[in-house]
Structures are given as C-alpha cells and as structure tokens.
C-alpha cells in the first residue's frame, strides 16, 4: 500500500526523472547540433559523444602506409587495430562508450587523431602500440611539463594541462596490470599524438609476457590470443575502475 505522501514523493521522483531524461536528451542533441564545426576527419570517424557520458577513446597507432614495427612478420598497425577491436568489445560489454580513431587500415596524422579524441570529450584516451622489445606492458604519459589549464591551449602542448589526470590514469592502469601479475613499466615520452590531446591520455605499448620471453614458447608471446585477452580484460577492468572514481574533467 502506498500512502498519499508516498504518492506525492513518487510523483516528484517521476517528475525529476522525466526532467532529467529530457535534459539528457537535450544535452545529447547539443553536440550533434555543433557537429558541423568538427573537422572532416572527426565528422567521418568519430560521432560526438554526449558530454555526460563516460567515453573512452582508443587510438590504434600507425595504419595505411605507416606499418610501425615488425612484430615477427606482422605489422604493428594490424596488431594495434585487432587489439583495439578486442578492447572495444570488452569496454562496450561493460557499458562504456568507445570512440576509436580508426577502424580500418587507414593512415591518420597525429593531428587527426588528436582532433577525434578532443571532439569526443573523453575521460580516458589510450594510444595502443606493440613491440617485441621489453616485457609486459609499457605505460607512457606525455613528457610535457605540467601546466595550468587556460582558456585556449596551444595545440602542440595541449596535453600539458592534463598531465596530472594522465598520470592518475596511468596509476590506475599500473595497479590493475600489476595485480594481474603482468610486468609493467612506466615512462614519459615525446609522442605527438598524445601531446595534443585534451583528455587523460596514456600510451599503452604491449610487449611479450616476461615469463614467455625466457621459455621461448608461444604462450605469452604477442601473437598469443590468451595473452592478448588477458591484457585487454585487465585494461577494461581498470577503465571501469577509473570510471567509478568519478568525473575527471
């Protein structure tokens, strides 16, 4: 049985929910209304995401005529694209909106990649690389010195205002990988694609698993589907944890 006060409260809740839903719809339409302002590359490949959504940008490195490193006969561009597809499906299964800078074998400039990431207004931007050297997973943030946010950020050093968030995201990824007993190394590097991103940005370089490197077996190698699935699942869970920590923008 529902009392009158309960009915009133329920009505108020419903009204609030309707208002919230309408507000959400309006907010969802806003970015679409300004889509014409986006550059052609962004319009073609990255539909703008609602600002209140938790959005992750996946940026598979290389593509087209840029083959990247040679990973035992497989070009890095194919590996990063396949890993991006795998990670995207895991993230979407966890209810996380994903924007990818490329979904096919096309070459994008660093500027185009940053444009797509910045228009998505993402809460996490992962640039994916792969390498035969080293072991485990290498996490890199931009080597730009931290700077205070300003109204207009210089394009080539826009990431400077986000370094603090990027390092925090790197810490969450680091903890998750270490918890999963995957060797992980941290670093800072000069990577033009992430230097222009206005989001917490981390470059993830996947290398063979440390245990497999010594044994010489296929298990734990870059091509090992089980190893790829393990790394992707850990990254997806880490991003879920990152989302639970609240808005970072």
């Amino acid at each position: 049985m529902v009392s009158g006060r309960g009915n009133a409260a329920a009505g108020t809740t419903l009204s609030l929910a309707l208002f919230t839903a309408r507000a959400r719809r309006c907010l969802a339409v806003l970015p679409l209304s300004f889509a014409f302002l986006a550059p052609p590359a962004a319009r073609a490949q990255a539909p703008p995401a609602p600002a209140y959504h938790f959005v992750v940008v996946l940026n598979p490195a290389h593509g087209g005529t840029d083959f990247g490193a040679n990973l035992d006969g497989q070009p890095e561009k194919d590996y990063t694209l396949a890993f991006s597809t795998r990670l995207r499906s895991l993230l979407e299964a966890r209810g996380i909106s994903v924007v990818t800078t490329r979904q096919s074998d096309v070459r994008l400039t660093a500027t185009q990649r940053a444009e797509i990431a910045n228009h998505a207004e993402a809460q996490a931007c992962l640039t994916l690389h792969a390498s035969e050297t080293g072991v485990g997973v290498h996490l890199f943030t931009s080597s730009l010195a931290p700077a205070s946010p300003t109204l207009f950020e210089p394009w080539k050093t826009a990431q400077a205002a986000w370094i603090t968030h990027s390092v925090a995201l790197e810490g969450v990824l680091y903890s998750a990988l270490q918890h999963a007993e995957i060797p992980v190394a941290l670093g800072r590097t000069g990577l033009p694609a992430i230097d222009s991103m206005t989001c917490p940005a981390v470059a993830v370089e996947i290398a063979p698993d440390g245990a497999a490197a010594g044994s010489g077996s296929a298990s734990g190698s870059l091509a090992d589907p089980a190893y790829q699935a393990k790394v992707a699942a850990v990254l997806a869970d880490a991003l879920l944890e990152w989302r639970s920590e609240g808005p970072q923008l």
Binding site: A69, S131, T133, G190, A203
Partner: protein, 233 residues
C-alpha cells in the same frame, strides 16, 4: 672419336674456369676481410696525449626499462664538442656490442657531429643549471646531436626502445657535461619527425635527469614504479 679442336676447346675452357674460380676465391677472401674490418666497432679514440678520465655512461636496459650509470675510464678529447661526440659514440658502441642490454646497431660512427651552443635566455634549459655547473664559467648549453641516417633507419621500432635511446643519450651528456641542459637531434643534418616511428625528434629535450623543472619538456624517464599524480608541479 673426339675431334682435336673440341679437346683443345675443352682444355681451354677448363683452364679458364680454374682461373676464374681462383680469381673469385681471392675476391671473396678480400671482400670478407674488408667486411670483417668494417664490423670491428672502432673504439672512440681520443688523441694519445689525452689522459683517461672517469666517464659516466647512462646505459639503457630493455628488460626493465631502466637506465643505469656505468663508470668507464676513457681518454676523452679536451674539445667540448669532440668530448660530447666521444661520450655518445662510446655509449652507442656498448649498444652495438653482442649481448647488449639495449641492442641498437650502428656504433660510434652513428654520431656524425655534436654542436654545443648557448641556450637562449628565457627558454626552459636556461634555468637548468645547478650546483657546481652553475658556479662554473659559462652558461647552459644546448647540444645538437647529428645522427647518421643509417642509425635511425636501423633503430628497432618501439615506444620503449626509442625512448630509452633518447633518454640515455640525454642523461649521458648531462652526467658528464652538466652545462648541457637541452638536447636536440638531427638526422643527416635535417630535422626528422621520429627516431624509428615513435619517439619524437622534433622537440628539445631537457637533459637535466628525470626532473620536471617547469620547462616546456621534461625528461623522458622510465621507471618501474608509478609516479605520484601531480609530481613536479
């Protein structure tokens, strides 16, 4: 019955074959010796009069992404430019040696030149001197390292390996010549976008080891521990 002319022709051809085989053998031996001489990585030799001094080389290790100091006694030339070139040459010799912890082909010959120029006032590296270096005569310097194209072309491609190469070169220069606070890289005298497809060569790197000094670019260090969020601000 074999005609006489065919016998003569056969003998002549046999002799020609033997001569050509001998010549080819000698040419092969000669080329082999030449290649062997080329493979011997030429040590960074200073003039014999230069005394040996302790030099700290920051040697990268791919296994754990670390850069560790290694002290060697080297005869280094007195000229700062040549000294910087000799230091980097020795570092790349270590990377080119069999069993290197950070294998990169090329060796000392990959360093074509190193130019030292004063850092313009107002740039991040201009405030990078500390301690004895700040007290010594002369201001901070920018090292312009001119790499051979073959070095960049044959450098292993990867974010970590390229970053380690740049980091170890910057830190080696700063460890031995503290007045060097900034480093820029050229390849065959021209700017190049990346070393081998990843790490940027278009920026000026601060050589002050692993410290964020509030400049435009911080050192590209790699560690096995997470950094504290907001460190260096």
């Amino acid at each position: 019955m074999i005609p006489r002319y065919q016998t003569v022709l056969f003998v002549v051809l046999l002799a020609a074959t033997a001569v050509m085989g001998t010549v080819l053998w000698h040419l092969r031996q000669h080329e082999h010796q030449r290649l062997l001489q080329g493979e011997v990585s030429t040590p960074t030799r200073a003039p014999e009069v230069a005394p040996a001094v302790d030099a700290t080389l920051m040697v990268a290790d791919d296994a754990d992404g670390s850069v560790v100091p290694q002290v060697l006694s080297l005869p280094l030339p007195p000229s700062p430019n040549e000294r910087a070139r000799a230091l980097l040459g020795k570092l790349l010799d270590i990377y080119a040696a069999p069993g290197a912890t950070h294998p990169v082909p090329g060796g000392a010959s990959s360093i074509l030149q190193v130019f030292l120029v004063p850092v313009p006032a107002g740039t991040p590296g201009a405030a990078g001197l500390s301690g004895a270096a700040a007290g010594s005569r002369g201001g901070p310097e920018l090292a312009v390292v001119n790499l051979a194209a073959s070095f960049a072309d044959h450098h292993p491609s990867g974010l970590e390996t390229e970053t380690l190469t740049i980091l170890s070169m910057c830190e080696t220069l700063h460890a031995n010549m503290p007045r060097i606070t900034e480093v820029r890289f050229l390849v065959n005298g021209r700017p190049r976008a990346t070393l081998a497809g990843h790490a940027s060569l278009m920026r000026t790197y601060l050589a002050t080891a692993r410290t964020i000094t509030g400049g435009a670019v911080a050192s590209a260090g790699i560690s096995a521990q997470p950094a504290v969020a907001g460190a260096g601000q």
